[in-house]
């Protein structure tokens, strides 16, 4: 019996899902054994949320609605934790947002 969960969250970080936030995002995703995926649209394409190569390649700018879904053990917790991270602006205030 396998759990699954799905949610959406708005990226408010100034330069989007860039290097530093991507590192935090994928590190957090890896803490869960569930299979976690992200997409920029409800109908995909879905990308492995534990791969920084894939997450960076999405080039999600500020204002993007990020779709997150998980399947397997701890799916609900994984989606909840990732949504929270994006909501907290990856624990970086506007003060640390840089364009270069």
């Amino acid at each position: 019996m396998s759990a699954s969960a799905e949610a959406t969250v708005l990226i408010t970080h100034e330069v989007g899902l860039h290097a530093r936030p991507s590192v935090k995002f994928t590190k957090l995703a890896k803490r869960f054994s569930a299979e976690v995926e992200v997409a920029l649209a409800a109908n995909g394409p879905w990308l492995d949320a534990k791969s920084i190569v894939k997450v960076m390649a999405a080039k999600a700018p500020k204002g993007t609605v990020l779709h997150i879904r998980a399947r397997g053990d701890g799916a609900g917790e994984a989606v909840g934790a990732l949504v929270e991270l994006v909501r907290r602006d990856f624990d970086e205030g506007v003060d640390h947002a840089r364009t270069a």
């Binding site: 100034e14 330069v15 989007g16 860039h18 290097a19 530093r20 991507s22 590192v23 994928t26 590190k27 492995d48 791969s51 920084i52 190569v53 894939k54 960076m56 390649a57 080039k59 700018p61 500020k62 204002g63 506007v94 003060d95 640390h96 947002a97 840089r98 364009t99 270069a100």
Partner: protein
């Protein structure tokens, strides 16, 4: 002994270095092919492990922004999605070096072709990752540079910069490169001399020149190869005077700037991002002479709330000192997807106030954010690239309209004094068209490039792009004189304001208000103290 050879580039981090040259550009190292695909696979695994270990060690010794760059590289190397295609190619019969290079180049292209500046800039990190593994793979033990070496080449990788021990001197001289790169920022914060834009040939002109000691003058952006004895002596004098000036400058930071004759000069700071003020003691400057707003327009058009918060933060930090915010100066060399237009000659095209007036829906948003932020401090607003009075009047009318709309909605707001940048020669030559503006701020970078018809980002014409040309100084003096007669404040916010070599001429031209990048604050004040006007 060959004849001395002088090359001119652009200073990215001021300072002096005398030392042997060290070639950064990777010599194509030979990779010994292995007998089986399994051995090729093992070779790549070992190389990736070596590069990972090296990064991890480096992270231990690093902090702040630099550590973030390395963490990102480490996470990339750790990702099967990056390494997978290379291992698949090995299984299909490719040697490890070819497989790795192809896999990484495919990723790098994706970054290089991004329409977002931010992602394009990451291509340098990806190349750094590629080359670290290639070096480990070819057992090219990354030849150590001699102590105090001047690194030269196409560009320098962030890891190379961070791994180098700069305590015994040394510097960087690049063919290409950019003063805005991560490495340039690190170089400035650590006081490592760096020159960029030495041109396509760079230092590679003749092998005889590369054998000896070179003199890197990163205060003026030049380098001398095979210097004569007289040149070495002159260089050492400049170098020790620079060190003395820098040490002495520190004692000026906390004091107001005054010339030898007792003339007070206001020194404000230029900032490009609200977080820039976090490291500045507000009591060491007279305010913010230029706050750029392009950072807000990095990847997407910013909403009113984001702008309002950014402006308010700086106004509150300034504790009543003036903060001059420039409305967005996109276009030219600062394209913004979805806002600027593609042009064949962008420096002479739809940029600055021209673009804002052409896209009033974007401009009105910024105006509302500014009007609302104005209640939180001493705000002044200026328009970039104004060429004719009509542009100023049009922009001021939009401010009045938005103020009326906010008032009608009962939103707290305040009309700031509205001034203009003096950077288009038409304004500098005929300022009498602008008697109603609240202030003038001379943008010396653009004014110089337009008067001299020499792009400031083109190393080939860098020698023409000089603020000290009499034509530029005469225009500055005439604007300063016009301001005095009309009682319109005049300041200057270009790079020249913080250049100790240009400061005497600017004060002589009648300026008493300069705005400089925070790192130059102390040196600028010290240079002012030497002026006898």
């Amino acid at each position: 002994m060959p004849e001395p050879l002088r090359l001119q580039g652009i200073s990215a981090s001021a300072g002096y270095a005398e030392g042997p040259l060290f070639n950064l550009d990777p010599v194509v190292a030979r990779y010994g092919r292995k007998a089986t695909a399994a051995d090729e696979r093992l070779a790549l695994e070992t190389a990736i492990k070596a590069a990972t270990g090296r990064l991890a060690t480096l992270i231990e010794a690093t902090k702040g922004d630099a550590a973030d760059i390395l963490e990102f590289q480490l996470a990339m190397l750790d990702d099967d999605a990056l390494t997978g295609p290379a291992f698949a190619a090995i299984a299909a019969g490719q040697p490890a070096d070819v497989a790795w290079r192809q896999a990484l180049d495919a990723e790098i292209v994706g970054y290089e072709t991004s329409d977002q500046d931010y992602f394009r800039a990451r291509a340098a990190d990806m190349r750094d990752i590629r080359d670290q593994v290639l070096r480990a793979l070819t057992e090219d033990s990354d030849p150590a540079a001699p102590a105090g070496a001047i690194f030269y080449g196409e560009d320098i990788a962030p890891t190379r910069f961070l791994e180098t021990d700069w305590s015994s001197g040394g510097g960087i001289a690049l063919k290409a490169g950019s003063a805005a790169s991560h490495v340039a920022m690190l170089a400035r914060s650590r006081g490592v001399p760096m020159v960029v834009g030495l041109g396509a040939v760079g230092l590679g002109a003749s092998p005889a020149h590369l054998a000896g000691v070179a003199l890197l003058d990163a205060e003026h952006g030049g380098i001398i190869l095979a210097p004569s004895r007289a040149e070495v002596e002159g260089f050492r004098r400049l170098s020790s005077s620079f060190a003395a000036r820098r040490d002495r400058a520190k004692t000026f930071l906390a004091r107001p700037a005054v010339t030898k004759a007792g003339t007070a000069v206001r020194v404000q700071v230029n900032i490009a991002d609200p977080s820039d003020v976090d490291n500045i003691d507000v009591s060491t400057c007279d305010g913010v002479g230029l706050m750029r707003t392009e950072f807000l327009f990095g990847t997407t058009l910013p909403d009113e709330e984001t702008q309002y918060r950014a402006y308010r933060k700086v106004l509150e930090w300034a504790k009543g000192r003036p903060v001059t915010i420039r409305t967005v100066d996109a276009g030219g060399d600062k394209p913004v997807p979805g806002f600027t237009v593609a042009e064949t000659n962008p420096f002479l095209g739809l940029r600055g106030i021209r673009l804002s007036l052409a896209k009033p829906e974007v401009f009105r948003l910024q105006i509302r954010a500014l009007l609302r932020a104005a209640v939180h401090g001493n705000l002044k607003v200026m328009f970039p690239m104004v060429a004719v009075r009509d542009e100023y009047e049009h922009a001021a009318a939009l401010f009045a309209e938005e103020q009326a709309a906010l008032t009608a909605r009962g939103v707290a707001q305040k009309m700031p004094p509205l001034g203009i940048m003096v950077e288009v020669p038409s304004v500098a030559i005929a300022p009498e068209a602008f008697t109603e503006v609240a202030f003038f701020s001379i943008g010396s970078n653009d004014l110089t490039q337009y008067v001299m018809a020499a792009a400031r980002d083109n190393a080939l014409v860098a020698h023409l792009n000089s603020i000290r040309h009499p034509a530029v100084l005469r225009l500055i003096a005439s604007v300063a004189a016009f301001g005095r007669v009309q009682r319109i404040p005049v300041s200057l916010c270009g790079d020249a304001g913080g250049d100790p070599a240009a400061i005497p001429a600017l004060i002589e031209a009648g300026l008493r208000d300069l705005s400089v990048v925070p790192a130059q604050l102390a040196m600028a004040k010290a240079a002012i103290a030497d002026v006898s006007i």
